[in-house]
């Protein structure tokens, strides 16, 4: 079975909710729709306080090419446009909507009937994806239409579909593949048409044999779509690692996947593409895994964007007594929340409630130079050295040993026997080295 070649780790799986079907979450009383839910330029609000909006109506317009529209996840009245502390821990602008009923924008097809045929031209598909505000839903939130528009001189050759879900605990993609398999296959064919490629590969880790079997069965009529079981190996869901695992090609340092002719899209994104193109439905809801060892009703929920995370936890049985940390995302790359008022956004793949005992970090001691971080780093870096250079603020030195190649997967910190917070240092280093490189260009 295939996987990527350098480094990687095997964290415990903890897929507690793998057997839980997707459940529709009730609408919140008030939706808090963040104006920035993606990487790139911020959006401009096109509604004002007091405006009455319908579900699916445009709330904020993309602020540039690398940006994504935001649509109302609910119907109701705009209460205010104010700041809310989001998953990053910083106050960010958001539109607060008092929910009244659930009236959808006209033109959105609400039936579950599978629409196989797509007669649209590639440009038309990309335009619809752009308008629907679709971003990468694996967590990176990179606007999807940008990836579908290769820069001049570059040509996509293969669509790599990310069904890996290597983060422990998360099962949202797994459930989506099981319950929306036919839609995902249609979505893949739409994207292949948009990219004008004749090959697609779906990478799925072998801890999801049911999803592999189902998609293999569904993809049978389409020889151009290959379902590839992959060995379990974190961080295989990372774009560069997945491309190497599925195609054997390594994206050169500092380059985008299109450099090796690959375009990667998460299965969640593909399902959103299907809904946008075939059902005219903008991206305003997603599947969120709400999980944790002490949650009584953990599960996979279909949630409208803007639902406060507190309500998700209440729906999953309420915050346990011994809760010590609440994470937006998975335990390896997710963000610890400072406030449960933070709303669900396009990139919220999971909410993980950790017990107090497992929330604390161990006491760090001196590096014993065991080289386990070097063996674990999937980018072939030397985290111990990058950490030390960052600690001593030697940004030029850190640049020379490829600080910017770090993908922040956390393998180094996970594996360190001395409990050193290596990735903390590397994040600071990346920010500083990045600023250094930008200042040099000016």
């Amino acid at each position: 079975m295939r996987t990527f070649t350098i480094g990687g780790i095997h964290p415990p799986e903890c897929k507690l909710t793998a057997g839980k079907s997707i459940v529709e979450m009730p609408l919140p009383k008030q939706a808090v729709v963040l104006l920035g839910q993606h990487i790139g330029a911020p959006t401009q609000a096109v509604v004002e306080k007091g405006a009455v909006v319908k579900t699916g109506q445009l709330l904020a317009k993309a602020g540039g090419f690398v940006s994504a529209n935001i649509h109302s996840p609910v119907s109701g009245k705009v209460n205010k446009i104010a700041e809310v502390v989001d998953a990053s821990g910083y106050p960010r602008p958001a539109i607060f909507i008092d929910v009244e009923g659930d009236e959808w924008e006209e033109g959105i097809i609400r039936s579950d009937k599978l629409e196989r045929e797509c007669k649209l031209e590639p440009e038309e598909i990309v335009r619809k994806i752009n308008e629907a505000g679709i971003v990468g839903m694996g967590g990176a939130c990179f606007p999807a239409h940008v990836k579908l528009t290769p820069p001049p001189g570059k040509k996509a050759e293969i669509l790599v579909v990310n069904g890996v879900e290597c983060e422990p605990y998360l099962t949202a993609d797994h459930r989506l593949m099981l319950e929306k398999g036919p839609e995902i296959i249609v979505g893949i064919r739409i994207l292949m048409k948009a990219l004008n490629v004749n090959k697609a590969v779906i990478g799925i880790e072998c801890n999801k044999p049911d999803a592999i079997e189902l998609l293999q069965h569904l993809a049978q009529p389409y020889p151009e779509i290959e379902v590839m079981p992959l060995k379990m190996h974190y961080p295989q869901g990372g774009e560069k690692q997945l491309i190497e695992a599925t195609t054997g090609r390594q994206v050169p340092s500092g380059c985008l996947p299109i450099e090796v002719g690959a375009v990667v899209q998460n299965v969640g994104t593909i399902f959103a593409v299907y809904e946008a193109v075939q059902k005219n439905k903008p991206l305003f809801e997603r599947i969120v895994t709400v999980t944790g060892k002490s949650l009584t009703n953990a599960g996979n929920f279909r949630v409208r964007m803007g639902t406060p995370i507190k309500e998700l936890i209440d729906f999953a049985g309420g915050l346990p007594e011994n809760a010590g940390k609440v994470i937006s995302g998975g335990p390896m790359m997710g963000k610890a929340l400072a406030s449960l008022d933070a709303p669900v956004a396009k990139g919220t793949s999971g909410v993980l409630v950790m017990d107090e005992a497992e929330s604390k970090r161990g006491q760090a001691s001196d590096c014993i130079r065991c080289a386990k971080c070097v063996s674990a780093c999937p980018m072939g870096l030397e985290p111990y050295l990058l950490g030390a250079l960052s600690e001593h603020k030697d940004w030029e030195g850190a640049e020379k040993v490829h600080m910017m190649d770090c993908i922040e997967c956390g393998c180094c910190t996970f594996t360190c026997p001395a409990n050193r917070p290596l990735l903390d240092y590397l994040r600071i280093g990346k920010a500083k080295v990045g600023a250094l490189i930008r200042s040099r260009k000016q």
Partner: protein, 335 residues
Amino acid sequence: MANNFYVSMSPHFHSGDSVSKNMYRVIIALIPAFAVSLVFFGWNALLVTAISIASCVLFEWLIAKFLMKRPCTICDGSAILTGLLLAFNLPSNLDWWIVVIGALVAIGVAKMSFGGLGNNIFNPALVGRVFLLVSFPQQMTTWPKTIFQMKVQEAANAISGASGAVADATTGATPLALIKAGQFDQLPSYLDMFVGNTGGSMGEVGAMAILIGLVYLLVRKTITWHIPVSIMATVFIFAGILHLGNPEAFVDPLTHLLTGGLMLGACFMATDYVTSPMSKKGQIIYGVGIGVLTVLIRTFGAYPEGVSFAILIMNAVTPLINVYCKPKRFGRLKK
């Protein structure tokens, strides 16, 4: 609802590995070799080991508490390991106060003066051992015979009728000293060398027991194969070439592998995390260096044994290796 949560950057998971777990795994891996030393050298081996460990732990505690004034680190197991490895590098009949001096040099000079575990340049146990070797050459190179060798000798004396005629009945030459003297015909059999029925430092004689420990470390993924295999392969190939060139002057490569501190050095001393290179490529260069230096010192140097010196020299080269040998980087070249 009070929102008092821990907020930290990802990852929020840890492997559960720790410094002390790694140290105790190495200590467990040394148990077979310790058992061999007890079988062949008796209670003396236990005594020397106990003194060595106790004084290493004591010195670490004293220095951390009164000189460095920082939290006690003796629980991480590294001082116990240093004490154990130091004892393994000593003859079992060494006076107790020499052992204590060795422990003081190992912990005080080689480890704590650099800042404690993780910051030392040289392997502490080897520094202690080499310090004793150059300071007390007489005591450090007087090797007791194993219990079995003495029994064989008693039996031989009884048959020939000689009694007490042999003055040095309790001590004998190590295989490496025999090689140095050119007395290849008096070397013990491979089997004796493999199980440990030869003279030498108490922990280094039993090649088989050390290999069992190595397998345990490899299975537990405490170390990787790169350093031990590259050392053994280099010694075997280099000594093999010499032997093929002139079998009269140079002993066969298998004897090189099974004698002296080579096995112990390759499996437990050279693989010390702190003082060995970080990248796999660097570890192989380091291993080859140790192998070449060992054979050179053993064959052409003044000392019969060269593993300790070879490892210490390569310890000194390690920072340089770390600068030039980088791990294989993802996407580093386009074509």
